[in-house]
């Protein structure tokens, strides 16, 4: 059983295996964290076993006979969600391109770069839903609120993509503009923008895709669109209609994702030439 017993017949000494102390310690820590976090979740272990059955029951309620009567209204609300997502994406992109460029190394002054990056980091830390909840008090339960929330919440990430794209380009053309006496705005328009335009267009479409998904979530807090309709009929427990709404949401999201993704691929392939 021991190493020595095996080594004897071979007549050679086998080197000691490497220590597994590190891995063992890591496994113990991970396990402890898992148990500690499960402790306060009030998990009813008896109910856990009934979850698959419950999923089947609600699945049957929703999808055996979806109620298509309210389809026109569902399509209208979907259109409102798409509009919210699209306008939110445009607002976000229009704000984050100049701000992101100013936050790039070698463009704006250092104090501005650091300030902007701090602002982006703060925005990234606040979820869209929280921003929408804050805006609700001012602009009310409307898709307009949703659009503003999407526009502002996206800036944190979008502007970060912009400055990372700008910092990755070759610094030749920017140097030439500075050497010819160009101002920061001219540098941004005629040296940075031509180099990053394909990437930024692709990022803008990606923002739209993200917003489509997020806009459904914003509906849950009453910002209008298909998400609001979904919440209402779930509260009414009208499972036939909820089933129909889920079909509409998932179909619309998949179609938009696929289309936008194809356009993005074409843009990036065109940029390589």
């Amino acid at each position: 059983m021991t190493v020595d017993e095996k080594a004897a017949p071979l007549g050679v000494s086998i080197p000691a295996p490497p220590s597994r102390l590190g891995q063992t310690a890591a496994a113990v820590v991970v396990g402890a964290v898992l148990l500690a976090s499960a402790a306060d979740l009030d998990i009813d272990w008896g109910e856990v076993w009934s979850i698959p059955g419950q999923i089947q029951r609600y699945g049957r309620l929703m999808f055996t006979d979806p109620d298509w009567e309210r389809l026109p209204r569902a399509l209208f609300e979907t259109w409102r969600s798409i509009s919210m997502a699209w306008l939110g994406a445009i607002l976000c992109v229009v704000l984050s391109i100049p701000l992101g460029m100013l936050a790039a190394h070698g463009v704006g002054p250092t104090w501005l770069r650091l300030t902007l990056r701090a602002v982006f980091a703060v925005i990234r830390a606040v979820p869209e839903v929280i921003i929408a909840l804050l805006l609700l008090t001012v602009t009310g339960f409307t898709p307009f609120t949703g659009m503003l929330a999407l526009g502002i919440a996206g800036i944190g990430t979008q502007a970060k993509w912009v400055y990372e794209a700008v910092e990755s380009i070759d610094d030749g053309a920017p140097e030439a503009v500075v050497a010819a006496g160009g101002a920061i705005a001219e540098l941004a328009r005629w040296a940075l923008w031509p180099a990053v335009a394909p990437a930024l267009t692709s990022f803008a479409l990606y923002r739209f895709e993200i917003n489509i998904r997020t806009s459904a979530v914003l509906g849950l807090i009453g910002a209008g669109g298909i998400g609001s309709m979904l919440t209402n009929y779930t509260n009414f427990r009208q499972w036939n209609t909820v089933g129909m709404l889920l079909v509409v949401v998932i179909t619309a999201t998949m179609i938009i994702d696929a289309t936008s993704g194809r356009i993005r691929r074409r843009i990036m392939e065109g940029a390589k030439q």
Binding site: E175, A176, A180, R189, W190, P194, A197
Partner: protein, 273 residues
């Protein structure tokens, strides 16, 4: 200095006044601690064609960049024409840079835009920013762009995308960009290091014409000794940030070059070997 406005449309012979350059005890130490120039003093009269020769890392690029303020001096003063470069900031510095044309080893064009847009960069210092941002150019600016391209034989490529040009064509477009500034001084940082020998000669010829016909002061960084001797009248040798040779280029001997380079001359120190 507004005398460059006398440059008439299409006129590429009657240039603006040429400027002299004076460096007084200039030292440059970069933030990372590297000292690129040590106590360099230099007088270059207006209209001279000067080569700066040295190994890579000898401080050639830094020397040429302190003249238009791309690299700030650590100590000492730089005067170009009537301006004290060291004291200029913001708008005044951009105005000065407008009078100093510069071309680069890597051409530094915005690859994804047209030749026209690239040469228009040369007009930035003299054009209100709102105009350049909107891409609205005046009749006079357009004429200066066309004249610049015409004088380097690239007018037929004016609407071509910069990325579709060969290396030699790109460098000529870069020269046209500098000429469109209506400059009083022309700086060239290793302008032929990325070009094949015949193209290198034609670009050096363009620079000689600029010096001969327009009477511009031309400073060109080179590491190839035969080009320096063939095309320039005065040669400055740099070694480890110090001037170790200054005299007529044609009279420089093999031992002068060995002193500048700090080693025996090799066949790849010359273009024709």
């Amino acid at each position: 200095m507004t005398d460059q406005h006398e440059v008439g449309p299409g006129s590429d012979v009657s240039g603006p006044t040429s400027w002299s350059i004076h460096l007084n005890d200039v030292s440059v130490t970069y933030p990372n601690g590297t000292t690129a120039l040590r106590n360099v003093s230099l007088d270059i009269p207006a209209g001279e064609m000067v080569s700066i020769v040295g190994l890579s890392g000898s401080g050639k690029s830094t020397l040429i960049r302190v003249m238009n303020g791309l690299v700030p001096v650590t100590t000492g003063t730089v005067a170009v024409g009537p301006h004290e470069v060291t004291h200029l900031r913001g708008r005044q510095l951009r105005q000065l840079r407008g009078h100093i044309g510069m071309i680069f080893q890597g051409f530094n064009l915005a690859e994804r835009t047209s030749v026209f847009r690239n040469v228009m960069v040369g007009r930035f210092a003299d054009t209100p920013t709102y105009r350049t941002l909107l891409g609205v150019s005046s009749e006079r600016d357009r004429d200066l762009v066309f004249a610049g391209l015409d004088s380097v034989g690239m007018l037929d490529k004016v609407w071509t995308r910069a990325s579709d040009l060969s290396g030699g064509q790109k460098q000529r477009v870069a020269i046209a960009r500098a000429l469109a500034q209506g400059p009083s001084v022309m700086l060239a940082d290793e302008p032929v290091a990325s070009l094949d020998p015949p193209t290198a000669h034609s670009v050096m010829n363009d620079l000689r014409h600029i010096n001969g016909e327009r009477g511009l002061t031309v400073l060109v960084n080179l590491h190839l000794i035969d080009l320096a001797q063939q095309y320039t009248t005065r040669m400055i040798g740099l070694r480890a940030g110090e001037i170790v040779f200054d005299g007529p280029a044609a009279e420089a001997t093999e031992s002068n070059f060995e002193h500048i380079y700090g080693r025996p001359i090799k066949s790849n120190d010359k273009l024709a070997n």
